[in-house]
């Protein structure tokens, strides 16, 4: 008997990758259901980027009842504050646990648009330095793809979302399809030249490559430089699914978007060896519904997608769906970040900036590019910027009285700082499992994290500080201060891995097309698919892999291979 389907495709998640899957699949003519655990967002009412501190009672600190009781974990993220907390989940409703001695920060957004509303918008291509790393040093498994496989898909994504940046011709950080770059300050331009000279051209500071429009693009307006993108953007000037891919999908007439739909389990047809559909708990009524489709895309974010698979047990998959290799939930990574240095650049007191640039500078990876560092494998990029110190300096400097007040209304000296974003080695014991004793508000068993930084990451963090201090010195800064930072894993919100791509079914969960080895009509294209982390902000790679996987799925469906 022929299987009856409710939809051609189901996409779980409506964020960065879910939006891309929705766009690509609907534009290919597939009737597509997008499931979103959270509620709808109306940018006109919900976005708060122009709210000023004096418009909220606690001047953006929030009251402890609202934030500390409901969101004790989420408020450790800079963007979860009195104004923007609505885009972060309630920790009370969404519990997770971690192993003793292994704290893990899991910052989450359940709403249409997911974390594409709050993301950092930095987008950097990977190179073969990254795709070949596992194979070369033996940590993790070899990626089943190389740069040439993904390069056209990077271009495909960049042309649609709009990426501002400066081409630099670096092999380790390939250029993309850039809109005009944002401007560097006079201090940054000077530092760039001095650092280039001081390190024989090996250390390059460029303007951040950001998914923020510097010119009108695809019907979206250029940035108006108000500053806090993480609170939304009424002009959709930075890329979000809600402002770009979901409207494109909707325009096809093939999209059904179902908010308040918690994906609780993938159902499996053991006779046919395929995913049958998705069991959904209605977030409001708690009623169960199963939706069936020819193909399912998991785009729920790395840990959520792995959690969903681990919770989808059956006689055929007693250890979780798609886990015949035993690697499901293993090799979880994040970027370790934040250690660096700051300094003061003297002079330039006749220069200031106007507008709030939602972007900074980027120092491309320079460690282990052509020579091997003695203390660690892989590398890191650095992100930072310069600005003139403002009234905030008054909180830590001596002084009081009318003259003190007057001085704080003037601009202070220039600061220049940057911190590292480092690659984390894939480790078999860095993993997510299911906590048998904890369920979320909707009855779905919770994730349990056991992810730890190890010696390679620690050594890299030390080097981030000393190398940045060296660069500040070369740039001519004084009062250089090291900034040691020790955030727990997850804090960078670049959590990835857990359902990695591989060359063979015994090594991983997904093949070279993000397709589950154990069920060919299942694709996982969020961060769970990653076999290594590189050091670049990962979202553009997820987007490119999603578009590529969609193209493959559609091709297979056209050939009746799915």
């Amino acid at each position: 008997m022929k299987e009856q389907y409710d939809f051609d495709a189901i996409v779980v998640g409506s964020g960065i990758t879910g939006g891309w899957a929705a766009k690509e699949l609907t534009e290919a003519g597939l009737k597509t259901l997008v499931l979103e655990a959270g509620g709808p967002i109306d940018p006109a009412k919900d976005y708060v980027e122009h709210v000023q501190p004096y418009e909220v009672p606690f001047r953006n600190w929030g009251d402890r009842g609202l934030l500390k009781k409901e969101r004790p974990i989420q408020t450790d993220c800079y963007a979860c504050d009195e104004i923007g907390h609505k885009f972060f989940v309630s920790d009370v409703e969404n519990p997770y646990t971690h192993a003793d001695g292994a704290p893990f920060s899991w910052f989450r957004g359940r709403q249409v648009g997911g974390r594409s509303i709050t993301w950092g918008r930095q987008v950097y291509r990977w190179s073969d330095l990254d795709f070949e790393a596992n194979a070369k040093d033996g940590h993790g498994n070899d990626w089943p793809i190389r740069y040439k496989d993904i390069a056209p898909w990077y271009s495909h994504v960049e042309k649609f979302i709009g990426v501002s940046g400066a081409p630099e011709g670096l092999s380790q950080l390939p250029d993309g399809e850039f809109l005009a770059p944002m401007q560097m300050t006079a201090v940054e331009r000077t530092a760039r030249e001095r650092i280039l000279k001081g390190f024989n051209g090996t250390r390059l500071m460029t303007i951040g490559r950001a998914a923020i429009l510097t010119e009108d693009h695809n019907g979206r307006a250029a940035c108006h430089y108000c500053g806090p993108c993480e609170r939304g953007c009424i002009t959709h000037s930075y890329f979000s699914s809600i402002g770009s891919t979901l409207p494109a999908a909707n325009a096809t007439g093939n999209l059904t978007l179902r908010p308040h739909s918690v994906a609780a389990e993938l159902t499996y047809d053991a006779m046919r060896g395929r995913i049958r559909g998705v069991r959904v708990v209605d977030a409001n009524t708690l009623r169960d519904t199963e939706y069936k489709a020819r193909v399912v895309f998991l785009c729920a974010s790395a840990i959520e997608s792995v959690r969903l698979l681990l919770n989808s047990k059956s006689a055929h998959f007693p250890q979780g769906l798609g886990n015949s290799s035993g690697t499901l939930g293993r090799y979880v990574m994040d970027h370790h970040y934040g250690s660096g240095a700051s300094g003061t650049m003297s002079g330039f007191t006749d220069r200031a900036t106007f507008g709030r640039r939602p972007n900074g500078i980027y120092i491309a990876r320079f460690r282990n590019v052509s020579t091997q560092h003695a203390d660690f494998l892989r590398g890191y990029g650095m992100q930072g910027g310069s600005s003139r110190r403002d009234w905030h300096r008054g909180t830590t400097m001596p002084g009081y009285g009318a003259d003190f007040k007057k001085s704080l209304l003037d601009l202070g000296s220039w600061s220049l700082s940057a911190a590292g974003w480092g690659e984390t080695l894939p480790h078999v014991d860095n993993r997510v499992t299911i906590d048998p004793n904890v369920k979320d508000k909707w009855g779905v068993p919770a994730a349990r994290m056991d992810v730890r930084w190890r010696e390679n990451e620690r050594a890299m963090q030390r080097d981030m500080m000393t190398s940045m201090a060296e660069m500040l010195d070369a740039a001519g800064c004084t009062d250089i201060r090291l900034q040691p930072v020790d955030h727990p894993p997850g804090h960078c919100i670049h959590e990835m891995g857990g359902a990695r791509m591989s060359n063979t079914p015994t090594q991983g969960v997904l093949n070279a097309w993000n397709q589950a080895w154990d069920a060919q009509n299942l694709f996982i294209t969020d961060g769970a698919c990653m076999a290594s982390s590189a050091c670049q902000n990962p979202s553009i790679t997820y987007m490119a892999l999603t578009a590529r996987a969609c193209d493959h799925a559609v091709s297979q469906m056209k050939r009746n291979e799915l």
Partner: protein, 167 residues
């Protein structure tokens, strides 16, 4: 154009209407001390002072509903240490000091700003100074009239030429 979203307006309304309902965590002497220090650090001059823009009552709100019970208890204990310092060095609690003695105590406390090893009195002062400065510079009159914050700049200019300022 009213840029304040509904939720913020409602929250503000609740605070404004329910000022009496906000649990009072400061005694009259403590309120007077905070007001005195705020007025000394950021006095009225040709521009508004901390009292003019409502910093002391805002600090009261923050202490009541933002600080945890533990943090508030320690902070209030540290304010008590300021009074003990004033008493031991000048013979009266802070709000009872003559101007000359007040400046003497303020100078000794203020010199600790930026230091790491602080006495309880210095710790209380440094934390209070941070609240005063943050409350002042995030207030609407200061943001709009003195800092002239442009909410929607419409462009980014990385290199604006301005008169050189001493830093």
């Amino acid at each position: 154009m009213n840029l304040m979203p509904g939720f913020a307006e409602a929250a503000w309304g609740a605070v404004a209407a329910g000022a009496q309902r906000t649990p009072r965590v400061l005694g009259p002497t403590q309120e007077q001390m905070i007001t005195l220090i705020a007025d000394t650090i950021l006095p009225r001059s040709d521009t508004p002072g901390a009292i003019d823009v409502g910093v002391p009552p805002w600090i009261g709100l923050v202490l009541a509903e933002y600080f945890s019970d533990t943090r508030r208890a320690r902070f209030l204990a540290d304010l008590g240490a300021i009074d003990r310092l004033a008493l031991s060095t000048c013979g009266a609690i802070l709000i009872g000091l003559k101007h000359h003695d007040l400046m003497k105590v303020m100078s000794s406390l203020d010199a600790a700003c930026g230091s790491k090893d602080l006495t309880p009195a210095q710790r209380g002062y440094v934390q209070l100074k941070e609240l005063i400065i943050y409350g002042y510079f995030t207030s609407k009159p200061v943001q709009q009239d003195l800092l002239k914050v442009v909410i929607v700049p419409g462009r980014f200019d990385a290199d604006v030429r301005i008169p050189a300022s001493p830093t």
